[in-house]
Symmetry: C2
Subunit: 345 residues, 2 copies
Amino acid sequence: MKLFNISPINYELEEQINHKIDFKTKPLNALGTLETIAKQLCLIQQTLTPTLNNTLLIVFAADHGIAAKNGISPYPQEVTAQMVLNFLNGGAAINVFCKQNNIKLKVVDAGVNFDFAKNTSLINAKIAKGTNDYSKQSAMSKQQCTEAIKKGAELVEQYHNEGTNCIAFGEMGIGNTSSASLLMSAFTKIPIEHCVGKGTGLTIDGVSKKTVILKQVQNLHGISKDPLENLKNFGGFEIAMMCGAMLKAAELKMSIIIDGFIVTSALLVAQAIAPNILDYCLFSHVSNEQGHKKMLSYLNAKPILQLDLRLGEGTGAAIVYPIIQSSVNFMNEMANFESAGVSNK
Amino acid sequence: MKLFNISPINYELEEQINHKIDFKTKPLNALGTLETIAKQLCLIQQTLTPTLNNTLLIVFAADHGIAAKNGISPYPQEVTAQMVLNFLNGGAAINVFCKQNNIKLKVVDAGVNFDFAKNTSLINAKIAKGTNDYSKQSAMSKQQCTEAIKKGAELVEQYHNEGTNCIAFGEMGIGNTSSASLLMSAFTKIPIEHCVGKGTGLTIDGVSKKTVILKQVQNLHGISKDPLENLKNFGGFEIAMMCGAMLKAAELKMSIIIDGFIVTSALLVAQAIAPNILDYCLFSHVSNEQGHKKMLSYLNAKPILQLDLRLGEGTGAAIVYPIIQSSVNFMNEMANFESAGVSNK
């Protein structure tokens, strides 16, 4: 896929950035991870005074054909649509955290199995009313996959044009930890049984059942060298749309805040298409879904938070946001030794 | 010291709190640490709708007689006063983070070796112009120690009367990681060499030198069974004042956000005086000062953040604050399954 042209970060400013950080009134490296974040944002934005403008979180929602299968999720498929309505009514966790942290929130119907009323503030990008059951056929057609990627990219471009330079993604889709596990196994080559977790709350027996089903799915489709083929076979529409959104965001040199297991599975696809995307990613947290830690390790990613979250919706990204803001603020607002008249060692 | 009457948390509401958390529109336990924080705040405040009111961070600053000793800190003692002026001018890290997170910041001169101009907004609680050099005598007299504890308690009571129900503490004092290491060793019984770290940035050689000096100090004074005796021998005025402030805050059933190594050393003294204080403490982070992890482990404390911070000033507490706010907000603002019309499993 040659649609995205992602440049690696330019390190020319590195020395100047380090100098600015090191002469702030604090011991060397004393702000730890905040210094790492500040530096990355400076490099992405090619500046010594980074900013976070119109930060946006897009939640992509879609249904999964596999979700009808008993043993994949403890919740019925209807919950996807119900939760979308909850988002629109402002009652979900992601609403609360975005509101608190002044993050603009948009909800996208990427393929929910429900007819939403026209007058809602939902962005309609429905590819179909849920994917196919991938235990029988590919989750989506090649055309649907490309369409989803394109739609995600278009949305990001639109918000970039409106001034957003920092973006996060969230997802909702009953059954989507199964897609994420299959994608994880396909891209990391970790056996599927080590990629499957309890999702929204399966018991140990439930996890075993889910593993058996997903092993059969993997055997049916095999693992392809073509990232899009894997996405088409195992993906959800929300995952494909996030993948396109991430790729476009990196092309536009936006900072991307990565959430948990499912969002990271979309990134696994994206980085297989364009490895430079990783330069633009901040990893908000390592979730309590067991595969997530291994995904991050595969990506050499150091998560900022470890709060045992496993909610999805982009909540980890929304919760970490003030810490990213703190990184920007110390860079722009803290005095240096000279200006403050403080003796350096 | 029978001055403080700290009740343990009352667990009567526990079941109701758990019920409220578990019926929010999210999988069970999906908000991980945020649920733990929310529950603790509910129990402290004896409510299902906790609030954070007029949250305050007090930075206590003081000098240390030992700081003249070569090998204790890479920075000269003057930096304590210079940093206090930096706080008053709004240029330090703690200013930036408190401003960002809407935390009221107060700076207290607990015993800085400098005459500050009268017209500054500094709170004058100076016990003396720095402690004695504890390699020769006790850091302070018994009377000074009691005075510092009392002064810290008075300050907290004043702000409690003005409506503050959540409080954090920070510190500034060149040489105060040495006091903290000595107190750590005295209360945890961990040998001093495992309590000493690089502080503001000592080299490996520097740490060895510091260890030798502190071992001699420990041999000179010994370790007492009386917490106040240890505080008097090894403490700083800022540590003693924080100790009193913490004890009063817990007595008044305020939530206390604990910062890093030095603040936690004050808590070690406080919990030896009144163990129930721990019910009221939220542990913001584990710092990069090597002893801090062991301190937290001794206290059975689970830090919220792990960001390799080692700046002091209360910065870890200020940085974590939005996550504590998120815990309160989900509790108060998120819909439950019934109100949102979402199917529970």
